[in-house]
């Protein structure tokens, strides 16, 4: 009965278009979601929990946590965390500095930051690889100071550098947009009440920009943990991350490798969902994530 008394409220919001029109307009979107989002997920779950005969099994999942795959998983998580942390520490002061510029200069700097994003990720990563070569420009430059050529590539350092280089703008932009919206009078109020510049940042600006930090972390951590191209090209395939393994397994095109690939994807998905739940918990206090 109570359900019936509550029912009229949402009905007011409904559009007056006939049901058939709504169904037709929503259909393409629904079909798209069904084919390209829901169906792949169903397949991932299906292959994760079945053996080649189609019988239920948890062996694939157990396999993921075997020594060799688990090492890859651990490395992926660690490198993603590292690059996310580095991005955060680089991006936050930068976002603060940009927000202090005159409005016109702010949009210019943001445009400059966005500029590399207009170039394909593959091309950016290849150029970074060229820069880091033993006989590349960076070593040439260091040579001017008498430093012997350093082998940058084929190291976790190179991979983290690649992630930071590619994903830094995704950390800067959400943080900047939140900081830029903070009422300048709040900073004045903090100063008025005895805070110097640093105290103002830590006691007012930082707590008010948590939502930007949360979206920045999400936007860097998720692609970092699932990347395969950056690690592959900057280590010549020698340092493998979970993404590389998934790509390799799936491209083998046999049911057994689909199964371990799916199981890895499934675990990765769980990892991402858990990390987003954790970060969103922090962000929600300020009224949701700003993307």
């Amino acid at each position: 009965m109570t359900g019936q008394t509550l029912a009229p409220a949402p009905r007011v919001r409904q559009s007056r278009k006939p049901a058939i029109v709504r169904a037709v307009t929503v259909a393409p979107h629904g079909l798209w979601c069904l084919l390209f989002i829901l169906a792949p997920l169903v397949f991932v779950v299906y292959y994760t929990f079945t053996d080649p005969d189609g019988a239920f099994t948890t062996a694939n999942l157990a396999n993921v946590f075997s020594a060799s795959y688990f090492a890859v998983l651990k490395r992926s998580v660690l490198l993603a965390l590292e690059s996310t942390a580095i991005c955060l520490f680089l991006a936050y002061p930068l976002a603060l500095a940009i927000a202090k510029l005159k409005p016109r200069n702010q949009s210019l700097v943001i445009l400059l930051l966005m500029l590399p994003m207009w170039i394909n990720l593959l091309i950016r990563t290849y150029s970074l690889k060229l820069l880091l070569e033993v006989n590349g420009p960076l070593n040439d430059f260091l040579g001017l100071f008498g430093i012997k050529p350093i082998r940058f590539l084929n190291s976790e350092f190179a991979i983290v550098l690649g992630m930071v280089y590619n994903y830094l703008p995704y950390m800067i932009l959400p943080i900047y947009s939140v900081i830029a919206k903070i009422d300048p009078r709040l900073k004045e109020a903090a100063q008025d009440l005895g805070c110097n510049g640093f105290q103002t940042i830590f006691r007012v600006v930082l707590p008010l920009s948590v939502s930007g930090i949360v979206s920045g972390i999400t936007m860097v951590f998720v692609p970092s943990i699932s990347t395969f191209f950056i690690s592959k090209s900057l280590s010549d395939g020698r340092i493998r991350l979970i993404g590389d393994v998934i790509e390799q397994r799936i491209s083998l095109h046999n049911v057994a490798s689909y199964e371990i690939g799916s199981a890895l994807s499934f675990v990765l998905m769980i990892l991402i969902i858990v990390s987003m739940l954790i970060t969103n918990r922090f962000g929600d206090k300020d009224g949701g994530v700003v993307l």
Binding site: D183, R185, L186, E188, Q191, D192, L193, N196, V204
Partner: protein, 397 residues
């Protein structure tokens, strides 16, 4: 009482636009000073200079005799109640109020001082409330408590009551005055509301175009305005061109009137101010001037009538009903006439053919044009309230 704050030859401009020019002002300890003027007159800039949020282009700011031009805001013994409060949205009421004390005094002292503040602003029991869930008046109280907890020498208030409705504004005026008297803290109060300024201040500083037009007690600036701007901005005024024939004799509207002012040159052109409430409406044969009533508005306590006297529109407040289109006699007592020197504002204001409320001259969309193309503003309810209140105050004096 000593000079607590002194501004000496302050000039300030933004992007080449001069906001304050050669301003000199001192503020005594424990004084309630109001900077009064229309928007853009430089009053908020003056406040921000004292607060340390702006630095003057030239001139000195002295605090207790010491130059503080280069002292940053966080080191000044001055706290501010910001326009629209600027409460920290990530902190609750308690933490907002305690903000200035955190990490500086022991926890139990913070607790007792916040409690003391909450008592003062009547917000006990609100400690853990989210500041965004408070009403405007409650947020206002939190802002005041937050600014006062550090026991500043001076409290700056930037249009603190601007966002409140009329009734609440009246209550808060009263409370602010009480807090000021109880704490003995110097208040520097910025407002464009002349009535607020008159009812709260010890001293009013009237500003326009980046300059101080007059400094004085509320009764001084009301009864003895220095120029046409002050006369017009504070209260209602009929400002007529006149000539000072000799001491205590002024000529305007075709005849000589007795007045109480003197000290002008012989035959010096002057501005003559007659307040609407000081004009007596009399039968035609007893009038010193005669006028034609063009508009009558009932204001509750009195009627406000616009009267055409030789082509100049006067505003007169009278308790007796007069009909539109009637001819009346006007009688002015010598003490109702106030003589001012001519100023840059002479002739630009004081005629009620284009009556408007100075506060929302431009922003008010309810404007209409009369047959001469002049703007007539509707008498909105707010203006009506403040006018009748003023009349009530006048009656009490």
């Amino acid at each position: 009482m000593n000079k607590l704050i002194e501004l000496k030859g302050i000039t300030k401009s933004f992007d080449g636009e001069v906001v304050l020019s050669d301003m000199n002002l001192y503020i005594r300890d424990r004084e309630f000073v109001t900077l009064l003027g229309p928007s853009g007159c430089g009053k908020t800039t003056t406040l921000r200079l004292i607060g340390g949020f702006e630095t003057p282009d030239c001139g000195d700011i002295l605090f207790d005799g010491e130059r503080i031009n280069d002292v940053p805001a966080y080191k000044r013994q001055v706290n501010t109640v910001f326009q629209r409060y600027a409460l920290f949205p990530h902190l609750n009421v308690f933490d907002n109020i305690a903000f200035a004390l955190k990490h500086k005094v022991p926890k139990d002292e913070i607790k007792s001082r916040v409690d003391e503040m909450l008592n003062m602003v009547a917000l006990r029991g609100f400690e853990h409330r989210n500041v965004n869930s408070l009403s405007g008046g409650q947020q206002q109280r939190v802002a005041i408590a937050r600014a006062l907890i550090n026991r500043p020498r001076v409290l700056l208030l930037d249009e603190p009551l601007g966002a409140l409705d009329l009734k609440l504004r009246k209550d808060m005026q009263f409370e602010l005055k009480n807090i000021q008297q109880a704490t003995g803290i110097t208040f520097i109060y910025v407002t464009h509301d002349q009535e607020e300024a008159l009812s709260m201040s010890d001293t009013i500083v009237v500003m326009q175009n980046g300059k101080i037009q007059q400094i004085g007690t509320p009764t001084d600036v009301y009864n003895e305005p220095k120029n046409a701007f002050v006369a017009d901005f504070i209260g209602e005024s009929n400002i007529v061109d006149g000539v000072m024939r000799e001491d205590r004799k002024v000529f305007f509207d075709g005849r000589v009137f007795d007045c109480l002012d003197g000290g002008f040159e012989k035959n010096e052109p002057v501005d003559v101010v007659i307040r609407p409430e000081d004009v007596d409406v009399v039968p035609l044969d007893r009038g010193m001037l005669r006028g034609h009533v063009t508009k009558v508005t009932f204001k509750g306590v009195h009627y406000e009538i616009i009267v055409d006297v030789n082509g100049f529109m006067w505003m007169i407040q009278t308790t007796d009903y007069v009909g539109v289109d009637s001819d009346i006699g006007i009688y002015i007592e010598p003490d109702a006439i106030h003589i001012m020197k001519k100023s840059e504002f002479s002739g630009t204001i004081g005629d009620y053919s284009s009556f408007s409320d100075e506060m929302d001259e431009i922003s008010n969309p309810d404007v209409e044009l009369d047959e001469h193309g002049n703007v007539i503003e509707r008498f909105d309810s707010d203006a009506g309230d403040s006018d009748s209140d003023k009349a009530a105050e006048e009656g009490e004096r």
